[in-house]
Assembly symmetry: C2
Homo-oligomer: 475 residues x 2
């Protein structure tokens, strides 16, 4: 059976919401279940999302590429497959946003750069191929910062149009928050999934480095780049991992560590986790809103039965951040070297500066930086092994009221550089009404444990229906 039927529970607890809700408000799990039950058609869902998109995108600038006719045509084909009762996938008929650094066959993939503005790949990246193979529809390509670096994109934050949506997966995050699509692919080399997820009040998930193949995705820094995605629930994050996880010989960093039934782990309803609250580094850098919010969340989780204790991390975070920057600069320079020789003027300022620095850095600085990363990882492994999950704020502040930045990646980078799986849950608002998140992490390849604990936290902290779950509607 391709389908883990949870129909009775679904009907009993959520049907009232669904009868009144618009299809564009559904999560991936809700939509895929409704489609499997034939209570929602792929065409109806796509039409609802495209209408929502038309209303939101002129302000939010989520799309890099959207071909509405092609999207509707894909929805019709999906519906035909359903009507013929052909083998259908877990994501049958569900439209998803895809960050514009993922190659999509026959669909323009610009990587946010004028240099690749007209590049139309002849193949799908492995991640996209897996989603399509399970029935999902690539609705369109979402705005990325140039080469997934730090130059601000045109995208706006649906919670406050003069606040950054974060980056680099800016369109994917803002679009999920604005209900333009129920989930979207992103990638993280420093903080490009978790930061925009938190800034936009959605769930952002990044599995272990090596868990999802990066084949066919534009490289920022191969020793760090990790794919991830945006959803509105932990269950959706787990469901997508069931589809995306797996070994791929075309990505040299791809691991053959066995995958697990993630959605099952996330929905089984486990016991309260042992939570390690990390104040070191994070509480020094966070603003008062964020510190207070994180403390409140920790207290709420403890009240609900979790064992919460502080975990001290004996590691130099500043060394790690500097080392991470060196690695990213050198590898980015190596990727761009040839093109950059003739087209430096076609790069945005931050990308250009990063490449220029990378071209000059000595080899020994690079290799010493990699050693610093490895040493830092050992410290983090020790911390992670002392509890089920580590808890920190996701970002140092809510989304800055500044369109000239994508915010800083300090709080997400520690997990990216060590390759640990990490998830952010939206769970509050700042004093100025912007979303706040908490970041949960654990050791490599322990996604089941992370998702189960995150699901438990999500249940305790609340999800849909809370004030912080839906951005103000701008129409």
């Amino acid at each position: 059976m391709w389908y883990d039927s949870r129909v009775p529970i679904f009907l009993a607890t959520e049907v009232d919401d669904l009868t009144t809700a618009q299809p564009y408000e559904m999560t991936v799990s809700q939509a895929s279940e409704a489609i499997a039950l034939r209570s929602l058609s792929p065409v109806e869902l796509m039409r609802s999302l495209l209408e929502r998109s038309s209303a939101q995108d002129p302000v939010l600038r989520v799309w890099e590429t959207l071909d509405e006719d092609a999207a509707m045509e894909a929805a019709r084909r999906s519906e035909q497959a359903l009507s013929k009762n052909e083998t259908i996938g877990r994501l049958q008929g569900v439209p998803l946003g895809v960050k514009d650094i993922f190659n999509t066959q026959g669909m323009r993939t610009s990587s946010g750069s004028p240099i690749y503005a007209n590049f139309v790949p002849d193949h799908d990246s492995t991640a996209v191929a897996r989603l399509k193979g399970d029935g999902a529809i690539v609705m369109g390509k979402t705005v990325t910062t140039e080469f997934a670096s730090f130059d601000p994109p045109p995208t706006r934050n649906p919670w406050g149009l003069d606040h950054t949506p974060g980056g680099s997966s800016s369109g994917s995050a803002a679009g999920v928050a604005a209900r333009m699509f129920p989930a979207a692919l992103g990638s993280q080399t420093a903080g490009s999934v978790l930061r925009p997820a938190s800034y936009n009040g959605v769930v952002g998930f990044k599995p272990t480095l090596g868990r999802i193949s990066r084949h066919g995705v534009f490289t920022v820094s191969w020793s760090v780049d990790t794919l991830g995605y945006f959803t509105r629930s932990v269950e959706d994050a787990a469901l997508l991992l069931d589809v995306l996880a797996g070994h791929d010989p075309l990505d040299t960093a791809s691991s053959d560590t066995p995958v697990e039934p993630y959605r099952q782990a996330a929905t089984a309803g486990g016991k309260p986790p042992r939570i390690g609250l990390v104040r070191d580094f994070f509480f020094e850098r966070a603003d008062a809103d964020v510190r207070n919010h994180t403390e409140r969340v920790a207290a709420t989780l403890a009240d609900a039965g979790a064992h919460v204790e502080e975990i001290r991390v004996s590691a130099d975070f500043d060394d790690m951040l500097a080392a991470h920057r060196v690695v990213m600069s050198v590898e980015m320079a190596a990727v761009h070297q040839q093109v950059f020789e003739t087209r430096a003027d076609d790069y945005a300022p931050h990308a250009r500066e990063t490449i220029e620095a990378g071209l000059l850095l000595p080899g020994i600085t690079y290799v010493q930086s990699q050693r610093i990363r490895r040493r830092f990882r050992r410290s983090m492994e020790k911390a992670a092994s002392a509890c089920d999950i580590l808890l920190t704020p996701t970002t140092a502040t809510p989304a800055p009221r500044d369109l000239g930045t994508t915010g800083d990646p300090w709080f997400q980078t520690p997990w990216t550089t060590v390759g640990f799986p990490t998830i952010t849950l939206p769970c509050g608002l700042s004093s100025d009404g912007m979303p706040l998140g908490i970041q949960l992490a654990t050791g490599r390849f322990s996604e089941s444990k992370l998702l189960a604990a995150a699901s438990w936290c999500e249940t305790v902290l609340g999800k849909d229906g809370e004030a912080w779950s839906t951005p103000p509607d701008r129409n």
Copy 2:
């Protein structure tokens, strides 16, 4: 049972040799079996080896450090353990040579450098600890080139005193050839085990990168360094791997790929292997003696039943060699950077030049070189998957009649840089009476397959008793 008893076979087939042979002529397997049977005492064996050593070393310069009293004392302790019937190891009472870059607790470890001339480690490297844990005795420390680089050492080749013994594991190779110890540890970053093994007419074995922990061994280039050793039979190589192989969290490159019963694999007597003869690159660089020898060996193996076919390798070996040199230079520079700032004059010329180059090389050159390595590995994996073992000459020429070089590492580097297990078997003499070897290799972590095939080849090609098995005695 710690001991895989092969006593009846041993007594039936080899007792005649042993009764007339001196203890110093025994292989590891022969000595450990004789000791287990109480037909040879550790003290008797050590005395024989020390006598042999006294006679040979003044000419051959194998030892960097030998404390005869301490060695005899260790042999007496081993004998006491035997007499008390304490739990004894597979290598009980067997003396081994150890290259002087392996830390040995309480025993000077110079790494061949005046800078570390008086360094006495407070711990054993993991490899040495494992050998000791299985009953072996560290007889002494063998000459290494300075920091396992390319500066010629004082050691001489027992087959011809004006020929290089090769390097960097010079003393270990020459000492096994000269019967000063039955086996010795070495390490290979380019060709430092297989090359001197071939030049000295002994078996040299290097397992997969990650199979033996490098903890406590002076680093040349951490992304390439691989430990290995010298023996006089394939069975001994397999026996030592049984002792040395295994995961060690103290070496970040250490693999947890399961180990196998290697000695059993090597002695089971399998069917003739499918052999892939690689002429590409190797035959262009080899001299006529080496080419002819390799062809003869391939024909002999085919006559004995092996399936031999040529395997073409579509890879640029010159690119790979250049990339390997960059990686080695940058990593060596990173290791030495601090000490080199104040003590550059205390480095030998080749080590100094390598470090100076490494300090100047840009980061992008390093990372592009690592990419070239990865690409080369994919080509070699394809070649290796087409047969059981790949066959090439071990070296381009026999040991050069030149004490100003350690020979070139071209033929061994391809396997080191990709991390494949590889073994050299002595099996002939050149027109000027110097040893020739063949090099066998296979894909990563397939040591059982390699050792079984090597054992089959060894049986076909002959071993002890052949003209090429024993260097001329210089006393």
